[in-house]
């Protein structure tokens, strides 16, 4: 709808909106994260919810302990190979629509611990990630910025058409296979449906 017409109508006390805008507005202003802190980034996440930075202003009022009641999983901290199956299980237990923020260098790619034998080199090897926040640890303002970026992403999602999000497409999976503990590492080491190897992408 024409933006000028909307402004003109609103001056007369008539608000015109589309179903899509209203639906997304409601969703983006009430994203409830899961209490899921792994390591040092979790402390910055807690600091973001405390009085000085206050994430509750943005709608993340309650951090739900149960994945069944949460919309957002902020993977804050290093994901180790021992913890990775649990992370994927928790993601599977969250109902759609669900989002993932990979907070910190460790969740994006393994971070400073990349050379470790027990470190998973990024959580995007197994589950799809919506927003990445670089930093070690990222400041609370960076987490708020990522939260706002997620809100923008949600408000840009369409209800119909080809580019509608995953939770409105029946054929796309919302649960991903959980890796098993192998003798030398995880089996499989990554989920090829989800993970796009940056080197292969660059090589074309």
């Amino acid at each position: 709808m024409d933006q000028d017409l909307k402004t003109e109508l609103s001056k007369h006390g008539i608000f015109a909106t589309s179903f899509e805008e209203l639906y997304n507005w409601g969703r983006k202003n009430s994203v409830w994260p899961l209490t899921f802190g792994l390591a040092c980034c979790a402390i910055e996440m807690i600091a973001t919810t405390m009085a000085r930075y206050d994430l509750a202003r943005f709608g993340a009022e309650v951090f739900r302990p149960s994945p069944r009641q949460a919309d957002l999983m902020i993977v804050s901290g290093t994901v180790t190979k021992k913890m990775a199956p649990q992370v994927v299980r928790l993601y599977n237990q969250m109902p759609e629509p669900k989002y993932v923020i990979a907070m910190g260098a460790c969740a994006i790619s393994g971070g400073p611990f990349r050379d470790g034998y027990n470190v998973l080199k990024g959580i995007d090897r197994f589950i799809p990630v919506d927003v990445h926040i670089p930093g070690c640890p990222p400041r609370p303002e960076a987490l708020i910025h990522a939260f706002m970026a997620l809100q923008e992403k949600i408000s840009a999602q369409q209800l119909t058409g080809e580019s509608r999000p995953r939770h409105l497409k029946q054929e796309l999976p919302s649960e991903f296979p959980v890796p098993e503990f192998g003798e030398h590492g995880l089996e499989p080491a990554q989920n090829d449906e989800v993970f796009r190897n940056p080197l292969k992408v660059l090589q074309g």
Partner: protein
Amino acid sequence: MTLNEIRARLQAEIPGCQVDLVVNGSPSAQNSLLIDRQHGLEAARVLRGLELDYCSNVTAVDWLERVQSDKIKSKQVVDGVEKEIEQTVKTTIPGYLEVVYHLFSMSKKEGPVVLRMRTGNRTDDVALPSLTPVWRSAEFQEREAFDLYGIVFDGHPDLRRILMWEGFADYPMRKDYVPPPDDDLETLGER
């Protein structure tokens, strides 16, 4: 008590016990006592009796097989003239695993007394006595040494992996551990 006094006490109370003093080259001057495996538990009980009641740290170390070359000067007669000749002698020291215990006394506020025990080799002779019956603080740390180095502690109440998962087959902290190839981006997908 100085280390030499402790060593004399151990040799007096446990017949057949081999206690060697390992000198530390760094300025910290923390020398240690190397005790043989068979008398490790008895020696620990004697030390506990000397009021060393707090075992602070249990560390496992992996020593690979190394070649030590020493230069030896000897006098030899060459063509009727006595000369001093330097010869290089190489000795191969076989590899072993080692466990180091740092002991303190909370009652007398003294320490550290450093204890070492070595295994026979790195492959099949990797058993050592567990000192958990004497100092319970060694419980989790010996489990970690078993998990990451493969040292088997006889007499440990619950010897299983602590940091890696049950079913993991490698000993990752060893010097010759090679991580699996499908970790790195370069080799992903090629098994």
